[in-house]
Symmetry: D3
Subunit: 239 residues, 6 copies
């Protein structure tokens, strides 16, 4: 019942956060969870979407996407297909919602920050890696915005990280890679603040419906993993 | 801190399931949770999607949509906009996944059942009402399929119902209507089998991140609500 | 040469108009012509399309659509296909044009009323049922608008109803159901005012080109049917 | 009450049919009704649409479109907008239906003829000009098909022409140009066989609902116009 | 090694430019290079695209398209497919860029001229015929604009023509028709001003990569051809 | 007249080719020309497009795209806009055509290699960097294919590199960065084989039409640059 890469059940893959990987973006990070590699770019723009104009409040949104050959077999480009698939939409919404949970929109003023999370290489856990990396890019974009617009109050009210957990061969495990993910019975993505509170809990029975005990074990694992990720984010941002 | 319609915190809205509301569909139900009204139709077709051909297994999928004037202000038709929004995609995927959790695809043979869930009127909880009603339509469609194709084994391995729960003014509540939903701090959709196991748990901090205690209270409420819904489904199917 | 449901050649199917079937819409009706069931909702919005701005005149438009399982075999959703079919476009245009014929746009002021006609179940004559039901929804929406905006003059200059007629087995018949429609030689949709004048006459030779005598008989039948429908509309609106 | 171009009420505009205007098409005609100029091309292809395969019967379909600068002000290209408008769809369907009314599909065998009707310049009556010209292109395409496939029976069972009529300043008139069309009270498009029977009658009250007497006068005018057009088609085809 | 139509290697096909072929457009030309037939229409509109507003400068753009039966076998309409193909996009951009090279945008003021180039019949060299004809339409549209807006300075700073050249059976040839184009080793489109300077040079090795000597021979041929085309444009514009 | 980064007119930017940057792709390279950074992935698939089936020949195609924040200001995603822009189409076609010029399709057998070139960061010359990097990815993919399918003959008949050249402030320069590109008078992209023959020459007068002498100088610079790039490709492939 050993994990394919020999990790302990509660062990993360090697995580790397390369801050400011891009030259043009106001904030950016290339985040790696093992072989999963996501490029996160934060763009600051004046103004907000039409439905929010005149409120004096800002907006944060996200777009997640995957390069065609991020995966084992090449996937068709959504730009070529002419429409965005359900999975892409769903993850983009999750990333945006997760980051908005720690933003003080009043303090931002009417500006928009867009987080582009492009998966360059996929090996499981791309959406949680995206959230974890996007937070780092967001911090730098918010700093840029404060400096540029002379904002008094910090628009960031906390930090965010995320990790996937799941049950494989009856064993709850942290940070599944693709191999584990594809045979998991239950799969859960958990988004947690730096203070250990939940922003999002999404658990799905991939095969067999799960009970309360399993749910509890998975939540414990996830909170533990996010505590470590939160430390790594701090280190990257201190650099 | 009374609820707008005077319900107890753990009380469902009046729930009605009108089975066989449609003449052409192999299974159908008009399901009402208070003023939320969803028309669920199950269609049986021979064959399965391309990627599943030759496996001998069936498929169950769902499409959720909302009529333009289901809501307080008219929404643009997705057919006119030429693309399906992220919310629609996400809910369609949730409904399909939830029902697939109780289907034995081998027993189905290579047939597809599509569940169309069209919201005629919306007052909160449309996705969970859709799942609850779609299960009833699915049961009749599966019966039709068994009869037509002389299937030996029952392709249905259990029952499914779903309900929304949330924290409003600090109080965990069952089955939020739109008014409550729009001011909730935390919002959770829970899909449960007839035996009380979880198929899907989706909790989101709409305003303030939530703690483990809140999560536990909401899950308790949801399981209680689904037990009642499961009984109502049985009655409708016995009719 | 008896009709499949035993009706006389000049006899309508049982027609039911359930007014105010929806809670949110400013006007609504669930209209049934036998098993054909169309949900009509009228939405009042401030402002008019760009090309009409500044004219001081209002606008009335319609969108017709069919639920996937309204028909005997499931049809693909137009929102999923990403485009609206020719038939849908054509009927939406017909419904809008028919209702506009009795509207005084100057009296409306710069407001728009949109009529959504969604076919929940189809058994022939859906477009004419839609027009007949939409008129009822329109009346309530116009009343709402007059009250809200304190309009002096009534924006409604007359009433509208519609029916299909056709030649089946050489016999001109009123209000064809799907079975009759699919074998008709000539098919005609006629839209008539409450005073018996024509708004629209659309006759098509489905098989054999038709002569003037046939055209005359069909028009007689249609005017007779619309007279009855006009009475049913009045009763529904008096309720 | 004279017409803008001095014509009698029952007088057609100068009509020209330039047969075989294109080199590649199996049949073609550049048809002109005054300044209205439509290029009609008939293409013969083996096979039929999927839903018709295996029936042994052929198919005839049409696509109508307008060049951006066919009209007084430039219109956006439908290819650039990414979707076909309702009017285009509706007219394409009308043209196809009109021509199919004189085709014997059994005699055609499983071949498809597509009629492309592209409006190079518009001055009213483009859809009826398109039908009139497309018939000429169809005749040549059918001849080509008979020769190529050695068909015994003629797949053409008759001829088709079409004209618009309308009431302008109270006067019923034949073949309206754009100026007249834009101020007409009633507008009617009529498709007639060479034997004077009706294939399609589409009358619309643009302003005031019309009575039976008006309808009758318009039909008389249209049948007279189509008789002349039928002669012009014969001449073009004899050339 | 004679050419299929007997021309000398440096000989153009018969070229005809029918100016003002359209009634509504501010400038137009039906241009023919042998059997290649392109209808060019220039439309003058007030205002410029959003990104250019407030600059005081005008804009010139082009849209190229092909009728479905311009070619030997019918092509699907891009409006029906719902998207514009790469080839269409590329040629539209080339035509626009070529004409902009001789336009003084300051002298134009904030107006836009759109050049629609629709290929009615294709026999090779459609893009270069389009540029050559569009220039003629542009001249008339610019004259119209100067007159209407009383522009002091001529917005046209030169003339433009274009031709294709290629290597067929080892021989450099001018103005390839479709037959030659389809077997050419190297294919080059060259856009030249009336003064013989280059606006665009696009050479492609269709089979074997080519050397500098071949490139030089092709450029010589192209400049010679454009000198003749420039004369033909002058004659058409003098008419 | 010094260049912004102090380079000599005939000097390339620092060029880096990181081979096998991706784990899943059969061939890949992250190519950098100064700050321009393009990720090239080659995917091998069995089978060829429909129009090529049964010929026994392979196919090579390319898709070029840019991440939203590759540029100084964020661009909208083409997947979100629902269509691919003209520039993207044009460059994808250029990349594919350039690589196909050195491929022996018969030797490949019926397999397809797709080259995905995604610009992670843009600073001028992205299309020529894409071609240069894609060749390296192609070589590895072809090796993989030969090994897997035991192909006797090498499907690669040569090598390809590309570079941009242009005239800035009257001076012909090699490998323009974005700053130079945006003020260039003439801009040319040149694709050259390892043996110094031309595959593609695309020169455009961005401001002033250019003469033969300028064209000649630019071609000399480009051939010189490609000679150096060809050496760098060899080194990367030897690694």
């Amino acid at each position: 019942m050993a994990r394919p890469d020999g990790r302990a059940p509660n062990e993360l893959r090697p995580v790397t956060i390369s801050r400011n990987w891009l030259r043009h973006a106001e904030g950016s990070a290339l985040v790696e969870f093992g072989d999963t590699r996501v490029l996160c770019a934060a763009s600051v723009e004046d103004g907000v979407p039409r439905w929010r104009r005149g409120t004096g409040e800002g907006w944060v949104t996200a777009e997640y996407a995957m390069l065609p050959r991020a995966t084992d077999t090449r996937g068709a480009r959504e730009s070529v297909k002419g429409k965005i698939g359900g999975r892409t939409h769903e993850i983009s919404r999750l990333v945006g919602r997760s980051l908005r949970a720690v933003v003080d929109f009043k303090a931002m003023g009417e500006h928009t920050i867009t987080l582009d999370c492009d998966v360059l290489q996929a090996d499981g856990g791309t959406r949680t890696a995206a959230i974890t990396g996007a937070y780092v890019a967001l911090v730098d974009a918010v700093k840029y915005l404060r400096r540029q617009r002379n904002l008094k109050k910090n628009p960031l009210a906390g930090s965010v990280s995320a990790v996937s957990v799941g049950v494989v061969q009856g064993q709850p495990r942290l940070d599944l890679n693709y191999l584990e993910d594809s045979v998991a019975d239950t799969d859960m993505n958990v988004v947690v603040t730096g203070e250990g509170r939940f922003i999002e809990v999404q658990g799905t029975a991939e095969r067999t419906p799960f009970d309360r005990g399993t749910l509890d074990s998975l939540l414990d694992l996830a909170v533990g993993g996010c505590t470590q990720l939160s430390e790594l984010q701090k280190k990257a941002l201190a650099g």
